[in-house]
Amino acid sequence: METPLIEFRDVTKRFDGKTILDKANLSIYENQITTIIGKSGSGKSVLLKNIIGLLSPDEGSILFRGKPVREMKKSEWDGCRSRISFMFQNNALFDSMSVFENIALPLRQTTNLGKKEIEQKVMSRSEQMELADALLKYPAELSGGMQKRVALARALVTDPTMVLFDEPTTGQDPIRKNAILGMIAHYRKQFGFTAVLVSHDIPDVFFISDRILLLWEGEIAFHGTYDELIRLKHPMIDEYRQSLAGLHDELPGQLSRDMFSFRYDLRPDFAGDQKVIK
């Protein structure tokens, strides 16, 4: 059986007595795109921060390639971290640095690359992200969507083998959202890339995901494929379907209702024993 790249064993995390993760168990496999879904405030970002080591579990253990992180030496853990990048939900760009300096910072500080090599890498990433014209600007001068792309370029500039994305497509227009999702899928195909995404972009994010994890009340309530997810009977799925049904009922015309049903796959067999949308 394949050893997971990252494994959570009964991980519990509390803040001020409030339990955010409650004996969470999960496995993330190499070369897969794993998407974590769940309601806002359910602890998805906390889960990601536990993976990278920004937070540490109060109870339970996190394993990296089968070895508990707590038992690793600092150098060993640093070696693991060198292959992981993290993209923050609010971007966490350095606001006193230009876009170029933001993207170049991890290369300048953690590698021995020369000035020209760094410049080439930054230019290549910024062209991919359509940021070439904004390199001399400061984050405060950019739109929310552009800031997101800068954060993405910074996360990918070191060519990591695993990237943790905290809502990478939030605030993007549909064209760029598709481009970002496409790029993540393309990277996986090209470089054997492992990605963990926290996203609310349902159902779009499912199209690139190999595995989906559902975080509910601090526990991993589901892990599996999209096909397994749509057959799942779970309070969150029920709430989601009901919200779709409510929105569907409010739609003004037949055309928009048909398009809506098509987009969200609202067929009677999908809805199971829930409310059937006609």
Binding site: L93, Q109, T110
Partner: protein, 287 residues
């Protein structure tokens, strides 16, 4: 089998309840409780500040630090030089004025130069320079690091494997250690010139006597003392301001932008108090 553990220790419980009731009745208890809590908090903060400084100091000598240290020397040192020299000039001028009238009463206005120089080199130079840098650069350091903390920029550094203490704190401590003595020297020189302006140019003290007394009475020990003080103040100010900013998110009294403003205020107030306390301690050792 030892059953003693199953029996209640009534004597102990009685004595404890008497002590407890006495404590309740005591009017001193409400005073001691917050005092004790405050003392523990202060000792705890001092301990963590010392660890914070040790970690940051050792990381000054790591690779890729020179560029950031130079940037910080420019920010802490070069950009503070004009305000430091302005304050130095007027401090020297007012010293010249005050001391001239005081010394005239004893017929000793000829020693004006040495009194102004010794006052500046041994005491006012290091203290006022440190306070001016605290006000200008220390507050900015605390605010900048505090904002970086609450906007997750420090977390971002960690995720990029850039040690935040090495990248943010060590260069600032190094820059303070370089800048404080230099600015103190500037302050002293400009202050002596200020004393010359009021004493010699305005009030008519002999120019030769003014500088001759300085050369005669100021010796290397005085300059060394001022230098040591400026180094001590550099470490205190840099560590206090960085520490306040770095741990902004752990403040129990506020959150977000408010916590940054309180951290900045605390950084300036604590630095100034520490400068004065350290000044007394270092002076008593140097005497």
């Amino acid at each position: 089998m030892d059953w003693s553990c199953y029996y209640r220790d009534y004597a102990y419980e009685e004595s404890f309840s008497i002590m407890h009731s006495n404590m309740k009745e005591s009017s001193f208890l409400p005073l001691f409780h917050p005092l004790g809590k405050w003392t523990i908090k202060v000792v705890d903060s001092l301990g963590s500040a010392v660890i914070f400084f040790s970690r940051a100091f050792l990381k000054i000598f790591r690779r890729k630090q020179i560029r950031e240290i130079i940037r910080q020397v420019y920010f802490i040192g070069a950009k503070s030089s004009s305000i430091v020299m302005l304050v130095g000039l007027f401090t020297g001028m007012v010293l010249g004025l005050q001391l001239f009238y005081t010394l005239t009463k004893f017929g000793s206005e000829g020693v004006l130069g040495s009194v102004v120089a010794l006052t500046l080199i041994r005491e006012l130079g290091p203290v006022l320079t440190a306070m001016m840098i605290t006000a200008r650069a220390g507050s900015a350091i605390a605010a900048e690091i505090g904002i970086m903390r609450i906007s997750e920029q420090i977390d971002a550094l960690y995720t990029m494997r850039i040690d935040p203490i090495r990248y943010l704190v060590s260069p600032r401590i190094a820059a303070a250690i370089i800048s404080f003595p230099l600015l103190t020297a500037f302050f002293d020189l400009i202050g002596i010139l200020g004393g010359y302006l009021t004493g010699v140019v305005l009030l008519g003290v002999d120019e030769g006597a003014y500088f001759y007394r300085i050369l005669t009475y100021v010796d290397m020990a005085d300059i060394r003392g001022g230098f040591i003080k400026s180094l001590v103040f550099a470490v205190l100010v840099a560590v206090t301001c960085c520490y306040q900013g770095y741990f902004t998110h752990l403040r129990a009294d506020s959150y977000g932008a408010k916590s940054v403003s309180i951290s900045t205020t605390s950084a300036v107030v604590i630095s100034c108090v520490m400068i004065l306390i350290a000044d007394y301690v270092v002076t008593s050792f140097l005497m």
